[in-house]
Symmetry: C2
Subunit: 210 residues, 2 copies
DNA sequence: ATAGACATACCATCCGGTCGGTCGCCGGGC
DNA sequence: GCCCGGCGACCGACCGGATGGTATGTCTAT
């Protein structure tokens, strides 16, 4: 019942027990994904969150800042999950498969975030774009390291750069936000299994070059 | 739009011999790709094209209409190229490889178009979005038909839906506009060769399930 | 003269952001 | 116990500027 702060407003906050910043974040995520960042006005945003402009600008320096907060949240989540799989025990092929499946699963579970991520990056200020790309790059490299590990062990083919393979895969994952619909023919897990299967098959050592 | 051959050049256009609609189209393509559709004002656009607002609104009904024209141009080009490869002679594996390489090549040769294509789709009006998706879907299905043909012939594995494989590949191709830089380490042809290689390797029949 | 191809001035609207103000809580002086 | 003053949370009317779009004029070739 209580807020995490221990603060409780009596009459002025009628509808939700959720904290104001969280309400703003989730409303923004939904609206930015549906209509795009630029098409969503601050007024529309705060109305959807059930707060006022003043409240928003009390917590966020700008509309841009709100977008950046969404990026930070999703980046942190992705990185945390990947670290879990990359640092696990077992053969690299299996670890990579698990991570590849999971990134699809996580993506379809948070389609709004992904939609925003790639569609609105250019709306951030230049330095924040750089910050996002930098963190994204770390994620990419963590993933790539697994591929390279497999290449050194000989379980993956080495005649294709690991970078290319990983980039290709992430491209496909990112593209999910364009076509995947929740409630469609395939569940996230099924798509993830297929994707990972194709990915690993592509990385399997070739017997004879054609 | 039937301004293909009857070009009129007046003495009032000082710098370019190119027709005004074309100038607008290429300026818009560049600016939309660089800054995004929303960040590019009509004034900025017409200034870059060396024309005035009046000229632009003489040829295009709206800013939206201009964006749509860009989509039509790129869709027509892609479809034409794909038809060339899909309808050619030879084994399906080779035709698919050629088409897969070419789509990468064409994409990196027209990075601006691709960048706009996926980033600004949601800026079009609803019915135009539908029109674009419909045409894009035809492209997808033409490509998929080749995969299915190979699956029937047994040269491609059939335990992964052709749809999934094609979607995955196009996702990777689309993603090129995010990371590929002209003048980088790899040429478009090289990336295309690697991508096609991974794609076809993923589709190769499996001998033993792991 | 007529029609198309532009040019120019102008408009209504909307948007992100601001700023002075309100409200309820809390610690402290007595 | 009780008032006081401050403080952070929040409110919402307001602003300057920019934007997409339009109305109307002008030039030129036919």
């Amino acid at each position: 019942m209580q807020n995490t702060d221990g603060r409780k407003r009596s009459a002025t906050a009628p509808d939700r027990g959720t904290a104001v910043p969280d309400r703003l974040l989730s409303a923004a995520t939904r609206l930015f994904a549906e209509q795009g960042f630029e098409r969503t006005s601050v007024q529309e945003l705060v109305s959807a969150a059930g707060v006022t402009k003043g409240a928003m600008y009390h917590y966020f320096a700008s509309k841009d800042d709100l977008l950046y907060a969404i990026y930070q949240r999703v980046l942190a989540m992705q990185m945390e999950r990947l670290n879990g799989f990359a640092g696990a025990e077992g053969p690299v092929r299996e670890r990579l498969r698990q991570a590849a499946i999971d990134v699809v699963h996580t993506t379809v579970d948070n389609l709004d975030d992904t939609r925003i991520f790639f569609r609105s990056l250019h709306m951030l200020s230049a330095d924040r774009q750089i910050a996002v790309r930098k963190e994204r790059r770390q994620y990419h490299e963590r993933f790539r390291a697994m591929v390279e590990e497999g290449q050194r062990q000989g379980v993956f083919r080495a005649d294709v750069p690991a970078d290319i393979a990983v980039t290709q895969y992430f491209g496909a994952v990112h593209h999910l936000s364009t076509w995947y619909r929740t409630g469609g023919a395939l569940t996230g897990g099924e798509v993830g299994a297929y994707f990972a299967d194709l990915f690993l098959a592509g990385l399997s050592p070739v017997e004879s070059a054609d």
